[in-house]
Amino acid sequence: MIAEAGHYALVLALALSLIQSTVPIAGARWGDAALMNVARSTALAQLLFVAVSCTALVMLHVSSDFSVANVFENSHSTKPLLYKITGVWGNHEGSMLLWVAILALFGGLVAAFGNNLPLSLRAHVLAVQGWIAAAFYLFILMTSNPFLRIATPPIEGRDLNPVLQDIGLAVHPPMLYLGYVGFSISFSFAVAALMEGRIDAAWARWVRPWTLVAWIFLTLGIAMGSYWAYYELGWGGWWFWDPVENASLMPWLAGTALLHSAVVMEKRNALKVWTILLSILTFSLSLLGTFLVRSGVLTSVHAFATDPTRGVFILLILCFFIGGSLTLYAWRASTLKQGGLFAPISREGALVLNNLFLTTACATVFVGTLYPLALEVLTGDKISVGAPFFNLTFGPLFVPLMMAMSFGPLLAWKRGDLLGAAQRLTAAGIAALVAIAVAYAWTYGGSTFAPLAIGLAIFVIAGAMCDLAERTALFRAPFATAMQRARGLPRATWGTAFAHAGVGVALIGIVCETTWNSEYIGTLKPNEVARVAGYELKLDGVTQRQGPNYREMIAQFTVRLDGEKLSVMTPSKRNFTTRGSSTTEAALLTRGASQLYISLGESTNEGAVAVRIYHKPLVLLIWWGPVLMAFGGMLSLSDRRLRVGAPKPAKASRALQAAE
């Protein structure tokens, strides 16, 4: 009964989404408040039914009901409870259910907390959410139904792919989907504005926090996925420019651009039309990501061609929403009122520059990801566009962006003073030069670019601090006054500083890891010693152990530094019997922000084990950076003040710097 109730709840959610996507629009067209309010109650009811459906699927997985095909294919009775639950979204059908559940959650949030939105805007927004939801409910029910049954249930399931049986993958997909799907809200707002033919102040006030929520989750989701790949796949790599990763990076880049243009829109009423376009593009890229990952087109274009049902369905959804919204944009954008004006050198101007670089960077990733696919479809040639392409295109775009990043917050709204901003950044510049000199001296004879990149990162971090020091008048006023001003600063300002510093922190990690990484690859016999970056690792021995649904080979290493025993590391290799596949569980030893990394390969007959040992200096900064960015985002989100960008008057003497 649980399975069928969950199935029926999903069908009811589809029916409700169809009503939600039509009745409120009719209500808005003829000005009937009651009809417009239908959007709200149906959105909430839809959320309820999807929640029922998800709960049902979780219960089926937990109770190992193998009469449900999805449970049979992706679960096993001996799997630990945690992975029985996370296995719900570790497969295609379940993850699509999670996708619509999050969509319904966002719709429900707009319905529940959208009291201060104009009634017709709310009706339109929820109706657009209803269309998206209906399309995906249909997709799930027709092509990826998680509630299909097996009449004679098998006694045991096929187990979840072992590399997915990991805590990182338990958290990563929900985070990523909260990000992807969160952008549907700004998309719905954009389409609603185009349908209404006007963008009012309430619009701007609403879009930014939603975008920010989505952006925070997407940032954390991508960082989480990258860390998972780092420790679970056993190669010590954290970013492969893999199409699946690019699929999440593209919405992030567009979303970051959207976040900044939404700030201009909220505070200065400018860049309206551009913000609308970015909203549409960001969600389109999220949909594209869903298509790339879920249609199987990446595994092989030919596999996709032989069983195209799912792919073609998502492709249709993709064409309908992207094509439809862009057509609507082309048709209606001209009717929207243009916003305020600003000088090229101003905070607005800096944000436009940011948008320019971010969208270009996004476009390079787009080309690098889709070009091989297009080529394979057209000519059948298989090429792979890898790190060299992205390093050559993406890198040069990010350098000027990061240079400009420190200047932006120091410029005033409407008309800024570049020279003044540069003066205030002198300290940051000096810090950067010192960092370059120190890094160069330390690694004399090594890479030339790496110290420069470190200098850039330090410039970004110091620039963020300069901004704070400037606003609190840290060195100009007495310390107590500065502290008082610091407390009085809007949390959004702190958020900006943290997020920008986070980019610099991540850059330091990336540069250090890629440049000064040292490794040992070879086979070790018991009691042999490997030396990496001054550490001595002795293989004590190899033992076998039986886990709940796997057997594992554990190697024990004693780590010494300068003859002193530091710790014991136990990397292992797990063999999952049901799927007949194995995973490597790398052992990590964290020393500050650096890590020692051991992963096991095959063991030979003579008792020797193939091992890969890496020393990765400051590698953790790669993920601390995004966490810092997300923390900055949360600070900014918690700031519920209204945002007004006070313009710099044309001929005013330099007074107090605007707070934000």
């Binding site: 029926y8 239908v38 939105l117 309430a202 313009p647 707070a659």
Partner: protein, 368 residues
């Protein structure tokens, strides 16, 4: 029945969600923010910022001017229609909710769902073996048992052939490897493993599989499966004569009633040439060093042995053909014809063998 009751409750809840705002009617028409309200809030915010010292008075003044301008513009364009009830639309929405929603939901569900199936949580299912259970379940039970007792060699050896039959070659390979580990090495297990490897490669004898067969042959040179597959490997490598030689040697050494004889004979026919008499490698090597007379004596001895064996057991078509051909080669046509007669007599009451015999004779050019 409970299921349908739950469905009905859920449907009612869904309908209620649509009807509720409609029933509230124009009472709910108020509400919703307006643009002017946002601007008024912004003006208040500027006052607070100035009070907190976050912006200077001149910036505040500039901001106030801008916002006031927008506020005026918003108030000007405020030509919103007052909320008006549209009874026709409301009625059709009500009908849509009351009729359309349940009909669509039930129709959609019935075409996809399986309302007749109950729950089958693991806990409520018996794990005792049952003769009616499909073989998959039995295998799953054995696998579960072996997961917990991976050193049970007997279990692996029971499981492996069942997996091979189901085509789960990869699992079978694992089971056979375990069986070899825990039961000890043997020619049969090695050649079973080779067969599973071949199966998982879609019938191609891979080098890995070939290595297993060679190991099996080393353990027991007469292991028929290994011999057959080594021949197959040679055939797949394009070495048809080698394949034929291997198979001929097998047939020569094999007992007449070996169940795999027809398979190897068919394979031999496939690589070309009739199943001609052959000598084992050792005999061939010995024969090379002999003088003419000795060699003739050796061959004659072998042919006589064959003839005696066939007199005792005449079922062996292959043997008869070999005998006939041997006589022909030795130039003793009359003996060949008489052997032919004996052969016909021996297999007369078996149509299949008779057909094989006649076919073989046709190939020898001794039709008659």
């Amino acid at each position: 029945m409970t299921l349908w009751f739950v469905f009905a409750l859920m449907t009612v809840a869904a309908i209620f969600a649509v009807l509720w705002p409609l029933s509230r009617g124009s009472a709910a028409s108020a509400g919703g923010g307006s643009e002017a309200a946002v601007y008024r809030d912004q003006l208040a915010e500027i006052d607070r910022d100035v009070a907190a010292g976050l912006i200077g008075p001149s910036e505040a003044e500039a901001a106030r001017v801008e916002i006031s301008r927008r506020l005026l513009a918003a108030a000007d364009s405020k030509d919103d229609l007052p909320g008006q009830a549209n009874l026709g639309l409301r009625r059709s929405s009500t009908v849509l909710a009351l009729v359309g929603l349940p009909v669509a939901a039930v129709a959609f569900y019935l075409s996809l769902g399986s309302p007749q199936l109950g729950d089958f949580p693991l806990a409520s299912r018996s794990r005792a073996p049952d003769v009616n259970q499909p073989i998959d379940n039995l295998i799953a039970q054995v696998e579960a048992h072996l997961d917990k007792n991976p050193t049970d060699g007997r279990g692996w050896s029971v499981l492996a052939p069942a997996l091979v039959r189901l085509g789960r070659y990869d699992d079978a390979i694992r089971a056979l490897r375990n069986s070899i580990t825990y039961n000890g090495d043997s020619a049969e297990r090695r050649s079973d493993l080779g067969e599973a490897l071949t199966g998982s490669a879609g019938g191609v004898v891979t080098s890995q599989a070939k290595a297993e067969f060679e190991r099996a042959a080393a353990l027991n040179a007469d292991e028929p499966k290994a011999g057959y597959f080594l021949g197959l490997a040679a055939e797949q490598d394009g070495r048809r004569t080698d394949a034929a030689a291997i198979w001929r040697a097998m047939l020569a050494k094999a007992p007449a009633d070996a169940p795999w004889r027809p398979l190897v004979q068919a394979a031999l026919v496939r690589v070309g040439g009739p199943a001609a008499p052959t000598l084992s490698n050792d005999a061939m090597a010995a024969a090379k060093d002999m003088n003419e007379a000795d060699r003739g004596a050796m061959i004659r001895g072998m042919v006589d042995r064959l003839a005696t064996r066939l007199k005792e057991n005449g079922d062996d078509v292959e043997g008869w053909l070999r005998l006939v051909r041997a006589y022909m080669v030795m130039g003793e046509r009359d003996k060949a014809v008489s052997a032919l007669g004996d052969a016909r007599q021996a297999v007369a009451n078996d149509a299949e063998r008779l057909r094989q015999l006649n076919e073989g004779l046709k190939n020898l050019g001794l039709d008659g």
